[in-house]
């Protein structure tokens, strides 16, 4: 380990020369050889494919890269985020196309009874038939079906906790036999929870008032008239 000096560590999204071992994967039904262990996203690039729709944050947070995959000899088609899943030999995968789910339009501030209004905005929500397909489709392992019921029964707090992990990939929607888009129901319920059912933080209100009242003016005057050197000394003592 004597010569560890590798800065800058040269970086390539294709990682081809360090991944000698190749595997065969099927992308949209067609076989390609790609380096073992790369993400599905990098496999796309390696296969020579342009990715536009399908790539976003590349970090597992935006849901742009929703994909279906199946491993060798397993009949079960699973879901994943293509930027955050590694290929394996014999895997088949395809990206999910954009799905035209309906989003309700609302003004949360003006809504009087958010729990009741859910049934007007998303009348399909209470028609859930408990098939559990949404939960099985969720790459974030959220208990989506349970969340839909919590929303219907007005437990918006539970919904907001359960869906904090939701990356809005939308994979729960196409599978729903009741035409529910559970993630959109959850966004509504979570926001309503924040707007209507969460305490207003007292300390924040006080801080805003103090700033408006000019309570910090003396401190500002003192700090802003300091010379660069004095400022430097002042900040140097901060721990």
């Amino acid at each position: 380990m004597a010569n560890d000096s590798s800065t800058p560590q040269q970086f390539t999204e294709q990682a081809s020369e360090i991944q000698a071992q190749m595997v065969t994967v099927e992308i949209e039904g067609k076989p390609f050889q790609v380096p073992a262990g790369v993400t599905l996203m990098k496999a796309m690039w390696y296969a020579g494919k342009e990715v536009l729709r399908g790539a976003g944050c590349l970090g597992g947070f935006c849901g742009a890269c929703a994909a279906y995959y199946r491993t060798k000899d397993d009949p079960k088609v699973k879901t994943c985020l293509a930027c955050s899943m590694a290929v394996e030999d014999g895997m088949s995968f395809s990206f999910m196309p954009a799905f035209p789910a309906r989003k309700a339009i609302y003004n949360l501030q003006e809504i009087k009874d958010p729990k009741q209004d859910l049934f007007e905005l998303y009348p399909e929500a209470p028609l859930c038939r408990n098939c559990n397909a949404c939960t099985e489709a969720c790459p974030q392992k959220i208990d989506v079906r349970e969340g839909v019921w919590k929303a219907v029964f007005g437990d918006f707090k539970a919904v907001s906790d359960m869906f904090m992990d939701c990356v809005m990939c939308g994979m729960c929607a196409p599978v729903c036999i009741a035409d529910i888009a559970p993630n959109l129901v959850a966004v509504y319920a979570s926001r309503a929870q924040g707007v209507h059912f969460t305490e207003k933080p007292e300390g924040l209100a006080q801080r805003i008032k103090k700033i408006a009242d000019g309570d910090y003016q003396k401190d500002w005057d003192r700090v802003l008239q300091l010379s660069d050197e004095e400022l430097q000394n002042t900040t140097a003592s901060i721990t």
């Binding site: 380990m1 560890d4 000096s5 590798s6 800065t7 800058p8 560590q9 040269q10 970086f11 294709q14 990682a15 360090i18 262990g37 990098k42 690039w45 296969a47 020579g48 494919k49 342009e50 536009l52 729709r53 790539a55 976003g56 944050c57 970090g59 597992g60 947070f61 935006c62 742009a64 955050s84 590694a86 989003k103 339009i105 501030q109 974030q140 904090m164 939701c166 809005m168 966004v187 979570s190 926001r191 309503a192 929870q193 924040g194 969460t198 207003k200 933080p201 007292e202 924040l204 209100a205 801080r207 805003i208 910090y216 401190d219 500002w220 802003l224 400022l231 900040t235 140097a236 901060i238």
Partner: protein
């Protein structure tokens, strides 16, 4: 040695390490360390910009080349507009959504154009939190001083004062939209302490702060029916021939068609530069982080500030290979996680500023105390299991669900084993010059968010970016909307591009390279 054997050393040394307190460096020591090891000080990676408003200033070669690049729009381009709006907002991240919502609320006719889908951005990935001085022992003035210290005293005081003072009311705005910040048992906002800050000041939504904020902002943009053009990348600005901005040319990436937008005001909120892979670094940034605003504004004659300094986040993934460059949340260090070298020793105070911590990691690796992976990378350990040991089992599950999941996907259990990290290209400290309203020296051209510069000095403090986006997104949006009310639509010309081309010719720059980059070229030529 395989990774597992090396991990054992971290387990073995944990108790001994916990017994010692690792001091922060003195200002002189910090400076020396940074000068020697921080990538901002690697002279060979830099060169002067040949022409334009920052002629002679030094920046990294990757940025200089793009700034000097040619426009993709030919001189005789047909500028008949397809849209005519009051405010064109470019970029669907936090700054863009905030700008669009505020401009719309102020009565402007807005078009929001973004390169990928709405929300596909850096903003959605922010895990660590958002700095707002709300704690009883805290104040905007303290926030100002901490940020100045972090920025090596180079921050623009006016921009900074505006940001820290408007922080609390921004917090209020987000709460009113339904953002669920973590709370204390008394209902007040829960604040965490971030690296480089003297007070606990980070508002969080577990480790999904950016995701939560963006879910809400996106939903609101759709509720407000703000006209949207997704997969619409701005590739050139338009001017009236006298230096004022009057619109832009977009490219619809779905069909490659160009779309001309006449706009009384334009707000660029296109984010950072990670995908330029400066100095060969991997990055934590989203697919579209290619510094487009820098190029577009520069061609309009707008100067850039502090464009020689970038933030290399201390904790980018190194192993497994799929996570190279991905951000490992700073929260682990905030909560007491140690950094450990291949010898099992700590080597820096983990809560020092990012530039100090990154420099020290690079130092360990360059001096042979890094841990090497089979893929030939090196890094140091971040002792994640320590958090469950120190604060009780379940701590990681409760406070870092996103990170647990990030590694679980590759069969790594961060509750049991430490993870390897190395600095990753994370943030553009400088950017396009703006005033306190978010306006650039080119009239009616605004820039908000990471694309703008000056506020953060030479090193952005953790959590200040999310606040920056909201504050200056709002200011730019409101000012642009107000301005548009009394402003006639100016003529649409490419005069600034013609001028720029002449200058390029005069300086014998003919690389043939066009910019902005729009998307990185990752597709292998097969």
């Amino acid at each position: 040695m395989d990774i597992t054997a090396q991990q054992n050393l971290v387990h073995q040394t944990r108790d001994a390490r916990r017994a010692i307190d690792f001091p922060k460096l003195s200002p002189a020591e910090r400076d020396a360390l940074i000068k020697k090891y921080h990538p901002d000080h690697r002279g060979h990676a830099y060169r002067p910009i040949k022409f334009g408003p920052n002629a002679g200033d030094s920046t990294v070669k990757e940025v200089a080349t793009l700034l000097e690049g040619d426009s993709t729009i030919p001189a005789d381009f047909n500028l008949t507009p397809e849209y005519s709006v009051d405010v064109l907002v470019v970029g669907g991240g936090g700054a863009g959504c905030a700008a669009a919502l505020h401009a719309h609320a102020a009565g402007a006719n807005v078009l929001l154009a973004t390169k990928l889908r709405l929300g596909d951005s850096n903003s959605v990935m922010a895990q660590g939190g958002m700095q707002i001085a709300v704690g009883p022992d805290d104040s905007p003035v303290q926030h100002f001083l901490d940020t100045l210290k972090g920025g090596h005293m180079k921050n623009d005081h006016d921009l900074l004062k505006v940001m820290v003072e408007e922080g609390p009311s921004i917090g209020q705005w987000l709460l009113e939209l339904g953002v669920l910040f973590d709370r204390q048992s008394d209902g007040n906002l829960h604040v965490k302490k971030g690296g480089g800050s003297s007070k606990a000041r980070l508002l969080t939504c577990s480790d999904y702060t950016g995701l939560e904020i963006m879910r809400v902002l996106k939903d609101e943009v759709l509720n407000q029916k703000v006209p949207l053009l997704e997969f619409g990348a701005v590739v050139e600005l338009l001017s009236d021939g006298n230096g004022s901005c009057t619109g832009a040319v977009l490219q619809d990436l779905d069909n490659k068609r160009h779309v001309v937008v006449a706009a009384k005001t334009v707000i660029l909120a296109t984010g950072g530069i990670g995908r330029l892979h400066i100095q060969g670094f991997p990055t934590s940034n989203h697919y579209g982080a290619t510094g487009d605003a820098l190029v577009l504004a520069y061609r309009m004659g707008v100067p850039l500030v502090q464009i020689d300094t970038f933030q290399y986040h201390p904790s980018g993934g190194v192993y497994p290979e799929q996570l190279v460059g991905a951000l490992v949340t700073e929260g682990i260090r905030s909560e007491g996680g140690h950094l450990v070298n291949a010898k099992g020793d700590r080597f820096v105070n983990e809560l020092d500023t990012r530039d100090v911590v990154s420099s020290s990691i690079i130092k360990e690796c360059e001096e042979g105390r890094g841990v090497r992976t089979a893929a030939g990378r090196s890094g140091v350990w971040l002792d994640t299991p320590l958090l469950d040991v120190a604060h009780g089992p379940g701590t990681l599950d409760k406070h870092f669900p996103a990170m647990v999941r990030q590694y679980e996907r590759y069969q790594v259990d961060i509750r049991k084993d430490p993870v390897l990290i190395y600095p990753t290209l994370h943030y553009q400290n400088g950017g396009v010059k703006i005033d306190v309203k978010g306006e650039t020296p080119a009239p009616n051209l605004f820039v908000a968010g990471e694309a703008s510069g000056g506020l953060h000095g030479r090193n952005r403090l953790m959590g200040n970016s999310l606040l920056d986006l909201m504050v200056f997104g709002k200011r730019a949006g409101q000012t642009a909307a107000e301005r548009a009310k009394s402003l006639p639509q100016g003529t649409l010309t490419l005069d600034h591009v013609a001028k720029f081309r002449e200058e390029a010719k005069r300086h014998h720059v003919s690389s043939g390279l066009t910019s902005p980059m729009v998307l990185p070229a990752y597709t292998r030529q097969v």
